[in-house]
Symmetry: C2
Subunit: 283 residues, 2 copies
Amino acid sequence: MTTQQLHEQILQKKSFLCVGLDPDLDKIPPHLLETEDPVFEFNKAIIDATHDLTVAYKPNTAFFEAYGIKGWISLQKTISYINEKFPDVFTIADAKRGDIGNTSSMYAKAFFEDLQFDSVTVAPYMGKDSVEPFLAFENKHTIILALTSNEGAFDFQTLTINGGQGRAEQSEAKELYKQVLETSKTWKNSENLMYVVGATKAEYFTEIRKIVPDSFLLVPGIGAQGGSLSEVCKYGMNDKVGLLVNSARAIIYASNGTDFAEKAREEALKVQQEMESILSSKA
Amino acid sequence: MTTQQLHEQILQKKSFLCVGLDPDLDKIPPHLLETEDPVFEFNKAIIDATHDLTVAYKPNTAFFEAYGIKGWISLQKTISYINEKFPDVFTIADAKRGDIGNTSSMYAKAFFEDLQFDSVTVAPYMGKDSVEPFLAFENKHTIILALTSNEGAFDFQTLTINGGQGRAEQSEAKELYKQVLETSKTWKNSENLMYVVGATKAEYFTEIRKIVPDSFLLVPGIGAQGGSLSEVCKYGMNDKVGLLVNSARAIIYASNGTDFAEKAREEALKVQQEMESILSSKA
């Protein structure tokens, strides 16, 4: 999928919601546990109930890998279901991968070719040759961690870097996540980059937009993690919207009764309506 | 496995070799492609041929995920085979994972409980709460990326950080990888930490040993990537050896004929003999 197609979908659905699929057998409705593949049945019901309100789904690979081979089968069934039934929806493998070049090539094959995701999240610590193999895939997108939504984001991402032995240009002191943004722009096929920026730090969006004005930002931290949608939009939105705001737990675990899909739709609808209102006020 | 048991195995086998299992269908011997599970058959033959010369195996998860469900089955069969047949060997899931707390918990379950690895590699970018869920497992080990062996290591890992808004103590300017080492030592259950340090940068080991004198270091970059074993040992070895030196391609792809396992053993034996000589000169 191209970013142009993604933008068109946003305008059509009046939504830039991404629903995170984090299927936890300890949290999903007990009646599903009797089915042959509870994880897939759960995802399928959530997808069927929300696909017109959301422009993206983001399966979190950890929640599949934890169930071994069965989990990987559930992941494959989930992505195939989305791709066959709702091919207009953008798909994100939230996998946080990244390794030396020949290994990153194998991860790219896994997510872009075997599973047919539109995008994958990647950690930047290992630098250019760990990310470029992902960028080589046309109309596939690589979403680099810049500033994450968790507490630990302040351990390293916001440290100030200041000259020294790094290869990157460093004309002035800046925080690590800003250097990640700047350096990544110099990589081959960088037009295929998007960035993870946590919603819990809305005031940072102004600075981030100075560096990557046109890129899509995947924004976790709305909902269970406490971020404010209106704040994020105020500082983070660009003229192509440029945001995919993720919500997982607040939507998919809105109920753990037999009405879970209906309740998930209600929660997704609330977010979509807030997004519609923001989009129309910006138009 | 405890680090004490790992040390005992090193003394017994006179080796601190780790064999990286990166099974690539384009590189493994063609005659194996006719078997039902070529990836597992390849790994099994390499393991059978080298287990007395190596103290650790390191399957690289990318090379399994690239083959989808079949690949995940091959991974499970490989780790089960090692655990059943050679339970004294240390196992490393080279997975480079790391995410917010509840997600890292799921990854820890995947690798420590479902697959029963002794250890997993983790990227540090997301900080404390992305790593501590792994550290909570007793007698399991979390191997954090500090200074990797690839070119991109110089993009961010060696940038000098200098005061600023990070939470970590910063009494003096230092490179990011050193801050990762220092900060990680303050995390809960940090005694379960090991670190990835690339062999291509042997001169850095002196500095690293000042920060983590007692930790095991997993050292990639020997062999195909060009690092020198004697240099690594000169600067990186501690009184409990404290090194696991990985070699993958140079051993597992020593031949792609029907003699591949025999040739792999020959290459592993060369490295083991060099290690034995280094160990006896240090004793």
